[in-house]
């Protein structure tokens, strides 16, 4: 029976969207949280490569803490992106900005990669995808935006409203 349902789900029926919303429709969305999380992931990745090995116990302790923060910020980033992807952006946005779907898909894949590895390149690519999503967000709002150098130790950029 399960196989029949799976077959129907996969092949026969046209798919529509049904909303299990959810959040009180307050209309308050912001890509800033996702960018902050992406910066934190970069920072944790950098610090993980800089852990001093003088004391094994201290090194293990530091690696645990840094990995924990990298993991929790990846969860947060995933949550922020899910909210933007499903709650804020509508079908017309995906039509107007054809790269948007690809940005989310890439960000999701990179989100997994930065969890699994200590990979600064992946973390930087993740921030770039998130910044592109932020730029599209501001375009849909009709406001001007700019890429600025952040004041964080990551020294990387950030997209903000002008």
């Amino acid at each position: 029976m399960k196989l029949i349902f799976s077959f129907l789900l996969r092949n026969l029926l046209t798919q529509n969207i049904a909303y299990a919303h959810c959040d009180i429709p307050c209309g308050i969305y912001d890509p800033h949280g996702a960018q902050l999380a992406a910066h934190t992931i970069i920072r944790m990745t950098e610090l993980l490569t800089e852990v001093k090995k003088e004391s094994e116990l201290k090194a293990e302790h530091d690696i645990s803490r840094l990995t924990h923060v990298k993991e929790s910020q990846s969860n947060l980033l995933e949550e922020e992106l899910t909210t933007l992807e499903n709650d804020y952006f509508k079908a017309e946005h995906y039509k107007e900005y054809p790269k948007l779907g690809e940005n989310f898909s890439n960000a999701n894949k990179l989100g997994a990669k930065v969890r699994q590895n200590i990979d600064i390149d992946a973390a930087e690519e993740l921030l770039e995808e998130v910044m592109q999503i932020a730029e599209i967000f501001y375009k849909t709002k009709g406001v001007e935006f700019v890429r600025v150098k952040s004041v964080y130790p990551t020294q990387r950029e950030l997209v903000i409203q002008k």
């Binding site: 349902f5 029926l13 046209t14 969207i17 049904a18 299990a20 919303h21 009180i24 429709p25 709650d87």
Partner: protein, 103 residues
């Protein structure tokens, strides 16, 4: 009322049973023979024509009060009012297991 249709879920209000991004199969055939009852997870149209997935939490005077399973993150009938049977499209009869949502 729907014969059979599939929907991709957007939102977290029915977690943990139905997760954001899951695909569900909805059918209204069962409601040709019996009335929707408390506890059923159904698809229905709200006032602005949007299709929502919620659980029937009570039935009063032929109308249905809808709520999400994830109480922290759900709109319910306090917000959008009780719904009548003609707004119900069908019952969720199958959810594709998580991790197998890709088509």
């Amino acid at each position: 009322m729907l014969l059979l249709s599939k929907f991709k879920i957007s939102g977290h209000s029915m977690e943990p049973q139905i997760k954001n991004g899951n695909t569900v199969l909805v059918s209204g055939i069962i409601y040709l023979f019996k009335s929707p009852k408390k506890g059923d997870v159904i698809a229905f149209k709200n006032l602005d024509g949007k299709i929502l997935i919620k659980r029937i939490t009570k039935k009063e005077n032929g109308k249905y009060f809808m709520g999400g399973d994830n109480r922290k993150d759900s709109l319910d009938s306090n917000k959008f009012g009780m719904i009548s049977k003609d707004k119900i499209l069908g019952k969720v009869i199958y959810t594709l297991p998580a991790g197998r949502q890709e088509f």
